[in-house]
Assembly symmetry: C2
Homo-oligomer: 258 residues x 2
């Protein structure tokens, strides 16, 4: 099977223009088939503030009302996605921007209301990679923002980590797929105070231990959940670390396998 | 040669949700290969106002400073484009959104500074339809906003009428291409006070006469310039009128040939 890399970048790169530029140089240099997924960064919050919109939170989670969805669509699918595409073109990486609505690639549904109505938040139902594979075979590189749609005309705001995992799983049918989560740390740390205390390899048994010991907590839990969801559904391996892990396979990072 | 239709819709449809919905139903029903180009509507101005940005004008023309370009990118490539894509998907028209940066389809340059610096306004240099033709052959429908790029990482704000004309010209190499400009009137009028005084057929000789007589003036002049530019560069015909002209070939509209 041919190799494919799905690479997700988070806010710390989107918010920092020189760091983003540096990442895109690393990304362009990756040989073979690749897909980029990006989050939104803080621009959406800044624009909401400039427009004097209140950010609605319940239990620390943001609620996507109609105005928040509009801003997310404008910032993620508009400014962030097109800025990345233009910069990749300047580096001779022929990229094409996608939301899940484009080509009906990612169908989602509004998150079901249990205790909390999260508004226009979308949970992914189905990924169709056919048109993406046509583009990849012609040396084009899809770049996804985390906006999806419900097939009935409604756009939905989706978690970018989850979207990257779902894309990688769908590609695994036809490609030997690796998933990379680039974030600010060198990997999953055993000691948060020591940036070099990276757990180099993790499987689901080791992960359960680390959870019980209280070493993996907080914001890392949903990220890890996406990692294991991916490797348990066909993705070869998931790597978590800084963008340099894409350049140099000996670079410290956390590699997750089933 | 196979037929292709390039259809451009303007602000009056983008600003009016029920009218846009109605247009998209008509658009979906068009058989064969088609490409949609949309302008931005008034949303960009509204958002600029909410963010307390001043709209800069020189001689009645808007100047695209960096903040205006950001808003144009957010609104045109983000909100407007993705809203149209999601609505088309709901109608089973499998659409893919494009800016000129995506797939390097439309390369432009910053408008040269003569008397006025129009800022980040782009004049089109080159259109590459290859990837668009791949999508069209797979029954996908490209939907363009009027944001382009300069190949050096800079996004540019481009006139949507001109972008539609340049796309139609580029497609004319491989398709028998018709270009449709949908606007609020039934066509080019001989008497602005009479909505039914449509000039049904126009060629370049007739057009020169109408200009001399002062019948075509103001905002219609740049639109007509794009029409004749298109038919003089390979486009079969250009039709100007209301969306219904796409449904019914006997419907009143202005048909422009060389």
């Amino acid at each position: 099977m041919e190799q494919l890399k799905v690479i997700k970048i988070g806010s710390h790169l989107i918010n920092d223009a020189p760091a983003l530029e540096e990442f895109l140089t690393i990304f362009t240099a990756i040989e073979g088939k690749k897909v980029l997924v990006h989050g939104g960064g803080s621009a959406a919050t800044e624009i909401a503030q400039k427009m004097h919109l209140e950010v609605k939170m319940i239990d620390g989670r943001r609620i996507t009302d109609s105005e928040t969805l509009d801003i997310a669509t404008m910032v993620y699918a508009g400014k962030v996605n097109k800025t990345i595409i233009a910069q990749l073109q300047a580096k001779d990486c022929n990229a094409v921007g996608f939301s899940g609505a484009d080509g009906n690639t990612i169908l989602a549904q509004k998150r079901l209301v249990k205790e909390v109505d999260y508004g226009w938040a979308g949970d992914i139902l189905k990924v169709d990679t056919e048109i993406l594979e046509v583009l990849l075979s012609r040396k084009l590189t899809p770049v996804f923002c985390a906006i999806t749609h419900d097939g009935k005309g409604q756009l939905l705001n989706t978690n970018a980590d989850t979207l990257a995992a779902e894309l990688a799983i769908a590609f695994s049918k036809n490609y030997a797929t690796d998933l990379y989560y680039c974030f600010e740390k060198k990997g999953v740390l055993i000691n948060l105070a020591d940036d070099n205390s990276v757990i180099e390899n993790m499987n689901s048994i080791g992960y359960e231990d680390l959870k019980i010991q209280g070493i993996i907590t907080g914001g890392m839990l949903p990220k890890m959940k996406n990692c294991f969801y991916a490797v348990q559904n066909g993705v070869q391996k998931v790597c978590v670390g800084q963008p340099e892990m894409l350049q140099n396979s000996t670079r410290l990072c956390t590699t997750i396998t089933n």
